[in-house]
């Protein structure tokens, strides 16, 4: 059973065919990249996979469950798929720790009564959840800033926090939308190591959208290329680098 399976996915907005007949798949623990020129429909595809848009044709399955009719929160909860966003969508007015605690909701095993009367169960549970959250933050070097407001973090750390927050939902599949955007070479290299670590440590399948070619080529085992809503190539990084269709899409007819 594949972690992610998309068959003949299409969506149109009015007359615009944003995605046409896209089929792709990710196996468990695979690191896959999704690239393409701006406006190719990559984020639209993400939104289709995470339930924000409903496709006009085709279907999406995550871990064997059909998701194209599900709401976003159901997909995250039942299919264990989590994502980050192209324009960072942290909870800006919450602290770093709170951001992560919110997505730890699956670990909450106490109810309203426990909250109102501050029972031992609640105190112990919250201590435990907070402890786990802080350990995770620490892995990413963010524990020291746990009480800072998310909006006050430097850009690179905000992107890291978004990934940590997604991890707290205990996903089996992770969608990263341009995680390296705005990062310099050093930060990008660090991020590459981090993502490989996440895949190895937590045994997660990861789908990454990125424009940074070094990042994608160095990180991913397989790459899909999207252009004008259609899949134009698929394969290992070496193959993609040499694929004339891909070069044409990015650089125009003449370069190919």
């Amino acid at each position: 059973m594949r972690a992610l399976e998309i068959k003949n996915l299409s969506i149109s907005f009015g007359g615009l065919k944003a995605c046409q007949n896209v089929s792709l798949h990710i196996d468990e623990r695979e690191l896959v990249g999704l690239i393409g020129p701006n406006g190719a429909g990559k984020t639209t595809l993400f939104n289709l996979m995470t339930g924000i848009y409903k496709p006009t044709e085709g279907h999406v399955s995550i871990c064997g469950i059909r998701t194209d009719r599900m709401r976003p929160y159901q997909i995250t909860n039942e299919c264990r798929a989590a994502r980050t966003f192209q324009n960072i969508r942290l909870f800006k007015d919450l602290s770093v720790l709170d951001n992560v605690l919110v997505s730890s909701h699956l670990k909450v095993d106490y109810g309203l009564w426990d909250v109102l009367f501050s029972t031992k169960k609640r105190q112990d549970s919250e201590a435990r959840i907070e402890g786990e959250a802080r350990k995770l933050l620490d892995v990413f070097g963010l524990d020291g800033k746990r009480d800072e407001l998310a909006r006050n973090l430097p850009y690179g750390e905000q992107r890291k926090l978004e990934i940590v927050r997604a991890l707290c939902t205990k996903p089996k599949l992770l969608f990263l939308d341009e995680p390296a955007a705005g990062m310099n070479d050093e930060e990008t290299a660090q991020l590459m190591k981090l993502i490989k670590f996440i895949r190895d440590e937590y045994q997660i399948g990861i789908l990454v959208i990125e424009h940074d070619m070094k990042f994608i080529m160095g990180l991913c085992e397989r790459i899909y290329v999207l252009d004008h809503g259609q899949l134009i190539a698929e394969g290992r990084p070496e193959e993609i680098k040499k694929n004339p269709e891909v070069i044409k899409a990015y650089l125009g007819e003449e370069a190919a």
Binding site: Y73, R83, R89, V102
Partner: protein, 325 residues
């Protein structure tokens, strides 16, 4: 501090403050304080929805009305079935009061579910209008039920809400809502306020969270209503209009949407201000006070929309002073 010690401590505070309020004040100041207490409960509970969850509810007076009339019906119609001493005997009537509060709150909460589930799928302005509409419908509905007085009002309610109950209600409401906000499920409210799409992406049903905050707020509004009914011993639907909802909104906005201490301070301030202005009212036959209320609100929105404390509590302000000292 263990919970047992905590609650014993609270009980002592309630009794001390209650005693002071009952015996240390003249009759008139006491009624102002009682109304202030009821308004605090309303403001703090509304802040949960408007301030912390970021959903604009304009029908809070409707839930207060539900709690008031249900609580009053409970003591006037039901409790006497258990014997008349349940509303007259000093000790037994305490149980009547408690049960009336709980009943009022629960029914208000149920109405909250009924109103919330369809309404909270709407956003912003539309949600505001729909809650306004529901608030009015509740009031018109009550107006047309003869057995609870209709337009003439509901009389004969036993006066069993004394200052101890009101102080107790205020303190319990504040503690409970504070604990709800501080808990991990409580942070979900603020997450919804910040970014609904991200909240959904984290596996949380934003509609469920919004309804949750709405129902909790409705419960406490119902409790406030029941207290109101048993303090003034008279109810009239004309009290629970949009005007009252608006006054509570003003308190929440002035105090800071997202600050519990702000709501408490603003509720006290505005209740007292309104009463003080009643004295100064020589120009008008009707409400100079409401003109001022509206003006205050407009000025806050123009000059300092974050209100008195913004999203912070008053003690963070003190903590920061200590740090810089």
């Amino acid at each position: 501090m263990s919970q047992l010690r905590f609650w014993s401590f609270q009980a002592i505070i309630i009794f001390v403050l209650g005693w002071l309020a009952s015996n240390g004040l003249g009759d008139y100041p006491q009624t102002i304080l009682a109304l202030a207490g009821i308004n605090i409960i309303l403001a703090v509970s509304l802040n949960l929805v408007n301030g912390f969850t970021g959903q604009f509810s304009m029908g809070h007076a409707g839930f207060m009305a539900v709690g008031a009339y249900v609580g009053a019906s409970w003591t006037v119609y039901f409790m006497p079935l258990l014997g008349t001493s349940w509303t007259t005997d000093a000790l037994l009537s305490q149980f009547s009061m408690l049960s009336a509060l709980i009943m009022g709150g629960i029914v208000a909460g149920l109405i909250g579910i009924l109103v919330g589930i369809p309404s909270l799928r709407l956003k912003g302005d539309y949600l505001a209008i729909v809650t306004l509409g529901f608030g009015e419908i509740i009031r018109i509905f009550i107006l047309n039920i003869e057995s609870i007085g209709g337009a003439r009002g509901f009389t004969g309610i036993p006066r069993i809400a004394n200052m101890y109950w009101i102080v107790g209600g205020v303190i319990l409401t504040c503690i409970f809502i504070f604990r709800i906000i501080r808990s991990i499920p409580g942070k979900e409210f603020m997450a919804v306020r910040d970014d609904e799409t991200a909240t959904q992406a984290m596996g949380l049903s934003t509609t469920r969270i919004k309804v949750r905050s709405f129902v909790i707020a409705a419960f406490f509004a119902g409790v406030a209503g029941a207290l109101f009914a048993h303090y003034y011993a008279y109810l009239n639907p004309s009290t629970f209009t949009f005007s009252y909802s608006f006054q509570v909104i003003a308190m929440v906005v002035l105090g800071g949407m997202g600050s519990l201490s702000g709501s408490i301070a603003a509720a006290l301030l505005l209740t007292v201000l309104l009463e003080v202005l009643r004295e100064a009212q020589t120009y008008t036959y009707y409400d100079f006070r409401m003109v001022l209320y509206a003006l205050i609100l407009i000025i806050i929105m123009l000059k300092r929309p974050s209100g008195l404390f913004g999203r912070k509590e008053v003690w963070t302000w003190f903590a920061r002073k200590k740090e810089s000292a």
